[in-house]
Symmetry: C2
Subunit: 242 residues, 2 copies
């Protein structure tokens, strides 16, 4: 599959927020990249670039892939079409491109949209990164799951009945993409016996990190860039009565 | 909780195998550690140390925590008791200790056994690492899950009925701790429609990495240090008919 005259696309996980949680491999790959591409939101947010900034060479060309923040999938998919073609032009000219991904590229990341568009035409390497999941666990010094327990990653936008059924059988869960679904999630975790152990971790590993027990989260707050970890198993760390 | 006269214990994720997948933070912490502790098996295996070796200072004292490989929990727990006390003696003497953990410390790792024994007595910091889960996904360039799908991490030693029930509802699964449970897991994945998409990733990110479709795995092999990723969703990467 390698076409020597083409550049290579690296999908680079930059970790959860602290630049020092980037891997040595990610740092080396960035140092050698002619082009550094990254997702950008239409209001100017560039979280992945912000994380990697200390390791982006000043000589590298910066290539934002701007994704409109709409609930519909069409505009975002069109934006990935355009972004993929801009990256393809660079690769076709023989330049190596590093595409920055918050956390890990293949753990609920947008890198899949580039893989699906460019994977058949170019050499692509994925560099895994530290996820927000394990960063949140590290922040609260609590295991995600014990021994042979099931661990479930549950995206908050799923319907109530799906979440309720999954939670009913789960000792250890991580709720992701919480945002505007916070009230629903809190109610569901209460129904299924997970609320007492649940901890909200916002902006893990950054200067804005905040750790709050779900029970103490005030009703008029909404946690963004957060993960909720809950544990309803038999290990002592699940008991939050202290 | 900080006691300035005591050393700090760092639980350091060293990633899945490639030393370059250690984080910058892990490398820095090792460079400053007076004592480097690590799990060892009774037959001399020291995987976490092998991974971190390029970054372990020659002046650091090495402190193995040797865990007997028995199915019973008693001997292993006694070994963690002894290991925790050996580490406590170093911390009590004011030395900083780094305990190396394969992958991430709190993703099914043994670090929890030190946390539970030492967490109330000493300052402990957890440095998250790249897990075998995302390393396996990177190795096969396939997302773990798409958009708002549930992702389940299923330890293979779980009983058949538990695994069958979880698999029945799961588009995206990762089977861990497969080892001697391989035949059972293959049969179960066949029952629940996951077998066609399932890929066995052994020794991810190391020179011994091997990627095999489950359907092509020969019956007399047994995959150790492996993760099986399966996807029964609607995205194109789940179709393995190519």
């Amino acid at each position: 599959m390698t076409r020597p005259s083409y550049g290579t696309l690296s999908l680079v996980g930059v970790g959860p927020g602290d630049p020092d949680l980037m891997t040595v491999k990610a740092v080396k790959r960035l140092a050698a990249a002619a082009v550094v591409a990254f997702p950008a939101t239409s209001d100017g947010g560039t979280l992945a670039l912000d994380i990697a900034r200390p390791y982006v060479p000043t000589a590298a060309a910066l290539l934002p892939v701007t994704i409109p923040m709409t609930p519909e999938r069409g505009p975002a998919q069109a934006a990935y079409d355009a972004g993929a073609e801009a990256i393809a032009a660079r690769l076709g000219a023989g330049e190596d491109v590093a595409y920055l991904c918050e956390g890990d590229p293949l753990f609920y990341g947008s890198a899949m949209y580039l893989l699906s568009r460019l994977g058949a035409r170019f050499a692509i390497e994925v560099i895994p990164g530290v996820t927000s999941l394990t960063a949140a666990a590290a922040a609260i010094s609590r295991p995600l799951a014990a021994r042979n327990e099931v661990l479930k990653v549950l995206p908050a936008p799923l319907p109530d009945d799906v979440l309720r059924a999954e939670l009913a059988q789960a000792p250890a869960v991580a709720l992701i993409k919480v945002g505007r679904h916070f009230d629903r999630i809190r109610a569901l975790l209460g129904e299924t016996g997970h609320a007492a152990s649940a901890i909200v971790v916002e902006h893990a590993t950054t200067s804005r990190q905040r750790i709050t027990r779900l029970a103490e989260f005030s009703a008029d707050e909404r946690p963004y860039f957060s993960t909720i970890l809950a544990y309803r198993g038999t290990e002592a760390w699940g008991q939050q009565s202290a």
